[in-house]
C-alpha cells in the first residue's frame, strides 16, 4: 500500500516519556519506544503490566498525562483526528453488535469514519475476503464462533484502510487453531500490505524470531528490540527464557529498593 516512501517515513508509533497514574497507582512509568513502519511489533507483558493502559492512551480514550504519543508523526492529543484515521483497533473485549449482521456491523463502523454505504459494501467484501469470511457476510454475528468474531473485528479495523493496526490481546480465550489463523492473517497484512501491527499479548508463543518485541513489566519497558537479539543478549535459549530472566531481575531489583 505504502511502499516507496520509506526514506521520508515517520515511525508508525512513537511513545516518548509516557507516564500514567490511576489515582495513586502508577500504571506506566516513563515509557519510551518507537515502532518502524511495516513491522510486526509485540507488546509483551503479564496481566497488569500496563498494556491496556498504553492502548487506551494511543486510542485517546484517556488523555496523555505525561509524555507524548505520535502516530505517523501526528500527535494523538493535538491532531487526534489525523492520528485516529491511521489506526485500526481491535479491543480485548468483543465490541460487535451481536444482533446485527456482519455486514451491518461493518457498515456502521465505516459510517463512523465517514464512509458511505455504497463504498463500505465494496470494502466490506474485500476485508471479509482477507479473513476468509466473505461467505458469512449476511449472518448474524451471534451465530459466529469466538474466533470468527475476532476475525470480523480485524476486518472491521481494516475498513478505513489504516496504516497501523493495534490489537489488545486479540487471541485470549480462543482455541489453538483460531489463534494460529488470526496470527497468520495479521502477519500477512504486514508482509503483503505494509501495515504496521502493534500486538499486545501475554502469550509468549505468539512471538516469532524476527518480531520487534517491547517487554513491559509493571509499567516499565524492560527491553526493546528484535526477539532474536533479545534472546542473544540474555544468553538464553528462547524468548520465554529471556522474558522470565528479565522480569525476575526487575522484580529482584524492585525488592531491593
Amino acid at each position: 500500500m505504502m511502499h516507496g516512501m520509506m526514506s521520508v517515513e515517520q515511525p508508525a508509533v512513537t511513545i516518548d516519556g509516557v507516564s500514567h497514574n490511576y489515582g495513586a497507582r502508577r500504571a506506566l512509568q516513563d515509557v519510551s519506544f518507537s515502532i518502524a513502519p511495516a513491522t510486526f511489533a509485540v507488546l509483551l507483558g503479564l496481566n497488569g503490566a500496563g498494556k491496556s493502559t498504553l492502548f487506551s492512551l494511543i486510542m485517546r480514550l484517556y488523555a496523555v498525562q505525561r509524555g507524548r504519543i505520535q502516530v505517523f508523526g501526528h500527535d494523538i492529543g493535538r491532531a487526534s483526528s489525523e492520528a485516529l484515521r491511521m489506526i485500526g483497533v481491535v479491543f480485548q473485549p468483543r465490541t460487535l453488535d451481536l444482533d446485527l449482521s456482519v455486514t451491518q456491523n461493518l457498515i456502521y463502523h465505516a459510517a463512523l469514519h465517514g464512509i458511505g454505504k455504497h463504498e463500505s459494501r465494496t470494502r466490506a467484501h474485500d476485508v471479509l475476503a482477507r479473513v476468509a469470511l466473505a461467505n458469512r457476510a449476511d449472518d448474524k454475528v451471534r451465530n459466529l464462533s469466538g474466533g470468527q468474531m475476532r476475525r470480523i473485528e480485524i476486518a472491521r479495523a481494516l475498513l478505513h484502510r489504516p496504516r497501523l493496526l493495534v490489537l489488545d490481546e486479540p487471541t485470549v480465550g480462543l482455541d489453538i487453531k483460531s489463534r494460529a489463523d488470526i496470527l497468520g492473517y495479521v502477519r500477512q497484512l504486514v508482509t503483503e500490505d505494509g501495515v504496521s501491527v502493534f500486538w499486545a499479548t501475554h502469550l509468549i508463543d505468539e512471538v516469532s524470531d524476527e518480531d520487534e518485541v517491547i517487554m513491559l513489566h509493571e509499567g516499565r519497558v524492560l527491553a526493546h528490540g528484535s526477539a532474536s537479539r533479545m534472546v542473544e543478549a540474555a544468553g538464553v535459549k528462547n524468548i520465554r527464557a529471556a522474558f522470565t530472566r528479565l522480569t525476575q531481575a526487575a522484580d529482584a531489583a524492585s525488592e531491593v529498593r
Binding site: M2, A63, P93, D97, I107, A111, L112, I115
Partner: protein
C-alpha cells in the same frame, strides 16, 4: 500523503457529507438495535399503559382536575396524565440508551464510537440524536393506543408535539449521558430508577397539576417548579394542543444545552470518567 499538517488547527479534514454519513450511521444502528429488542419496545409501552388503564382510572375519582391551560374544558384525569406518560417513555428511553453505554455489556460499543476520528462532541451529539429518534415511534405508538381510549388531541397537535418531543428527548438523553459519566452508583438501572427516574417523575406535573401540589406542600411545589422534567411535560402538554409554553421551552432548551455540554465535557479524555474510572476493560 505525508502532508505537513498544521496540527494545531482544529480542522479534521472531514466534509459535511462525511459528518452526515456518520450521523446517519449512528442513528441507523440505534434503530436496528431497537428493532431487535422487541421486549424493550413492549416494556416501553406496557409501562405507561398500565399507568393509563389502571392507575389513572382508579385515580380519576380521587383527583378532580379543574380547567387549567392549555385545556379549555373539564377533562378526564386520563387526558391530563397522557403527556406525563409520554415523557415517562422518553425518560426511560433516555436513561436506557445513555446508561447502557457504560454497562459492561455496552462499554465496548462506547469505545468503538469514541475511537472514530470525527470530533468527539459530534459523536456524542449523534448518539443523543439516535437515542431521541428511537423514542419517537414509542411515544407515537402510545398516542395511537391512547387515541382508541378516547384520549384525543386536536389533529394538528400530533404534528405540533413533534418538535417538543425532539427537544425533551434530547434533554432526557443528555441527562442520562451526563449521569453515566459522573456517578458510579448510577451505573445500574435500579440505582437510576430510585435516584433519578422516580423522583423526577413524581416531583413533577406529570401526575397532578402543580396547584394541587401547592395545596399539599408549598416546598414540594417549588421543587416541582425547579424540576426540568415538569417543564418537559408542560412543553409537550401545551404543544399537543398547538400552544407554546415559553417558560417551559426556555427551561427545557437551557437544560438540554447544559446537560449536553456537561456530558461532552465529561467524555473529554482529559477530564472525563473514562480516565477517572481507572482500569480499562474490566478483565486483566
Amino acid at each position: 500523503m505525508t502532508t505537513d499538517v498544521a496540527s494545531s488547527s482544529r480542522l479534521t479534514g472531514f466534509s459535511p457529507i462525511q459528518y452526515a454519513i456518520c450521523l446517519k450511521g449512528i442513528v441507523w444502528r440505534e434503530g436496528l438495535r431497537f428493532l431487535h429488542q422487541r421486549e424493550r419496545f413492549v416494556a416501553a409501552l406496557v409501562r405507561p399503559l398500565v399507568w393509563l388503564f389502571i392507575f389513572a382510572v382508579g385515580f380519576r375519582q380521587v383527583l378532580g382536575v379543574s380547567i387549567i391551560p392549555p385545556y379549555e374544558t373539564y377533562i378526564l384525569y386520563e387526558v391530563y396524565v397522557a403527556p406525563g406518560l409520554m415523557l415517562l417513555i422518553q425518560l426511560f428511553n433516555g436513561m436506557q440508551s445513555s446508561l447502557s453505554m457504560v454497562y459492561d455489556r455496552e462499554m465496548g460499543n462506547m469505545r468503538t464510537l469514541l475511537v472514530s476520528p470525527l470530533p468527539r462532541w459530534f459523536l456524542l451529539t449523534s448518539k443523543l440524536v439516535a437515542g431521541m429518534a428511537v423514542s419517537l415511534p414509542q411515544v407515537y405508538t402510545f398516542l395511537a393506543i391512547a387515541w382508541f381510549w378516547e384520549i384525543e388531541a386536536p389533529p394538528l397537535g400530533y404534528i405540533a408535539v413533534l418538535p417538543a418531543l425532539v427537544l425533551s428527548g434530547l434533554m432526557l438523553g443528555s441527562l442520562g449521558m451526563l449521569m453515566s459519566s459522573v456517578s458510579k452508583q448510577l451505573e445500574n438501572f435500579a440505582g437510576a430508577m430510585n435516584f433519578v427516574i422516580f423522583p423526577m417523575f413524581f416531583a413533577s406535573s406529570a401526575l397532578y397539576p402543580l396547584w394541587r401540589v401547592r395545596e399539599g406542600s408549598p416546598l414540594l411545589y417549588y421543587v416541582c417548579e425547579l424540576n426540568p422534567f415538569t417543564h418537559a411535560v408542560e412543553l409537550v402538554r401545551f404543544a399537543l394542543y398547538g400552544q407554546i409554553n415559553w417558560v417551559s421551552l426556555a427551561v427545557v432548551g437551557g437544560s438540554t444545552t447544559l446537560f449536553m455540554a456537561g456530558a461532552i465535557l465529561a467524555y473529554d479524555p482529559a477530564r472525563g470518567f473514562l480516565a477517572r474510572r481507572g482500569e480499562p476493560g474490566g478483565v486483566t
